[in-house]
């Protein structure tokens, strides 16, 4: 028994402990790139005399940002109310799209008849520019939150559908053999083997889905809405407040990065076996 334990310990010590994947704040090069971009922006507007209705001065954008952020969260002039409206609609749409994508993707992967039934339509719809359907959805769902949620759901549905389908089919045959040898039920095989196996694929789809959901909500707001970041942008555009448009875009850009970071963080927590999974 003792030599067994020794074998175990020596075998263990030979195994290099691989570092866990971490969510980083980006490489230094990315930050240098940002600095260069802002510096050349400052240089461009000051040296080339570009009019402010085409490219506003960075300080004007910062001022616009400040006036939108340094107010009470309940102020109608701040970013918080429109941001909340856009985000909550995008989140609701994303939840619906992701949920449906996962369920239908799973059914397609599990039942060949459903795959044959749904696949042609899925591909046809996928190749259609879905933003082009947005006016139709506004007719169906009206100018309220419904159309925002519906367009967000539509846009976030496809990446999750395709990725979960692909991931569930990409399972190693040996793992299916294992479950078959244990007389596991179909649902046990799905839950214990296929779904974890597909998790990295599903998270890649989710990563796209959150950004698409935000895009969907903004596009819907462009088409007509009382509130939201899309409204903030169109209102600023209406009075040629280019700095205001820029400020809203900066907010949306930062939001996109934050959402991406959240998805990556969740992925690192869930798919903790990380790069070693192919072993």
């Amino acid at each position: 028994m003792t030599d067994l334990a020794n074998i175990a310990v020596s075998a263990m010590s030979q195994t290099p402990t691989k570092p866990r994947r971490r969510v980083s704040l980006g490489s230094p090069i990315a930050w240098i790139g940002l600095a260069v971009l802002i510096l050349s922006w400052i240089a461009a507007v000051n040296l080339l005399n570009i009019p402010s209705y085409i490219l506003p001065k960075p300080e004007a954008v910062v001022r616009a940002l400040w006036s939108g952020l340094a107010v009470s969260p309940a102020s109608p002039l701040g970013y918080y109310l429109p941001l909340w409206s856009t985000l909550s609609n995008a989140a609701a749409g994303c939840a619906i799209g992701v949920g449906l994508g996962l369920v239908i993707g799973s059914l397609m992967a599990e039942v060949e008849a459903i795959e044959r039934l749904v696949m042609p339509y899925a591909f046809a719809l996928q190749s259609l520019p879905k933003v082009a359907i947005a006016p139709l959805i506004v007719i169906w769902f009206g100018f309220g939150d419904g159309s925002k949620i519906a367009i967000s759901a539509l846009l976030s549905f496809f990446p999750v559908l395709i990725n979960s389908f692909t991931g569930l089919r990409a399972v190693e045959p040996e793992r299916i053999d294992l479950m078959r040898s244990l007389s596991a039920s179909r649902f046990e095989t799905y839950r214990i083997v296929k779904l974890p196996n597909a998790a990295p694929f599903i998270f890649a789809g989710l990563d796209m889905a959150v950004v698409y959901a935000l895009l969907g909500a903004i596009v819907a707001e462009f088409l007509g809405a009382q509130r939201g970041m899309g409204v903030v942008i169109t209102q600023a555009q209406a009075v040629s407040d280019v700095a205001g448009v820029f400020a809203a875009l900066v907010i949306l850009g930062v939001l996109g990065i934050v959402l991406h970071g959240i998805v990556r963080w969740c992925e690192a927590k869930v798919v903790h076996w990380g790069a070693n999974r192919k072993k």
Partner: protein, 273 residues
């Protein structure tokens, strides 16, 4: 009629009875490219309870196919396959399978991997401390909470063996279980497998392409031909146990058997060149 029923009914086998009966089994399948492949040709083999049988043969001779048939993972074209008197019609709870390269699920701890057979497939027998005992006996006692990627290849395959033993099956089917390991780890695991087998006397059918591994482990070494797989020889290994690698190479029967098996396999290779 009544006699027939008694004859064909599942029964507990007597110690000298046959546990695995392979009777004129053939396997033919159509490959992805449309070619008809004769994987196995009229294989007959009887294995007694508690026997340790190793099957050696050239690559692609259908020895893994034979194991998959016994595991109930594939269907056979002709013949009869009986486990404990019952016709094989799918995976059986009497059988534990050890796969090539461990085949652990990377998202589960070692303990959860080993206990997996007790959580799926219905009929959940209370595990008690069985999993912990299995882990301890195979030197994995301190590694239950680790994930597979934190273990060496040898440790992973120990866990694979533990998992196959979780339901306490009568039969252990092992498909080149140590093929991916380095020579030293392989010998250690051979020794350990011998010890596990001596302690609980499972019936083991182990597929390998290592002649030394086959002779070291087996009561009988079955040599298979190149495709379509046939049985060329069924050799008894009369070397006393427990065997060690140091002693066995000095045993006259070891040299005789190794020479015979190597001769049979070489004849196959040359026949195909």
């Amino acid at each position: 009629m009544l006699m027939m029923d008694v004859e064909t009914a599942p029964r507990r086998v007597a110690p000298d009875d046959v546990l695995i009966a392979i009777d004129q089994v053939s396997k033919t399948y159509v490959s992805a490219s449309g070619a008809v492949v004769h994987a196995l040709s009229r294989i007959s083999l009887d294995i007694k309870p508690g026997e340790f049988v190793c099957v050696v043969g050239p690559s692609g001779c259908g020895k893994s196919t034979l194991l998959r048939l016994l595991a109930g993972l594939d269907s056979y074209s002709e013949g009869r396959l009986l486990l404990d008197g019952e016709k094989v019609a799918g995976p059986s709870r009497k059988v534990g399978v050890v796969f090539q390269a461990a085949n652990l699920l990377p998202w589960m701890t070692v303990r959860d991997n080993v206990g997996l057979p007790l959580r799926v497939g219905g009929k959940h027998a209370p595990a008690g401390d069985r999993i912990e005992r299995l882990l301890t006996v195979t030197g994995l006692g301190d590694f239950g909470d680790k994930f597979p990627y934190e273990l060496s290849g040898g440790m992973q395959q120990r866990a694979g063996i533990c998992r196959a033993l979780a339901r306490d099956p009568e039969i252990l089917l092992m498909d080149e279980p140590f093929g991916a390991l380095d020579a030293l780890t392989r010998e250690r695991l051979n020794l350990e497998l011998q010890r596990i087998w001596q302690e609980n006397r499972k019936t083991i059918l182990l597929i390998t392409h290592s002649i030394s591994e086959a002779i070291f482990l087996a009561d009988r070494v079955v040599v298979m031909s190149a495709r379509p797989g046939r049985i060329l020889a069924d050799l008894h290994v009369p070397i006393p146990r427990p065997r060690t690698f140091d002693d066995i190479v000095l045993h006259p029967d070891y040299a005789r058997l190794a020479k015979e098996v190597r001769g049979l396999l070489n004849a196959q290779e040359h026949g195909h060149d």
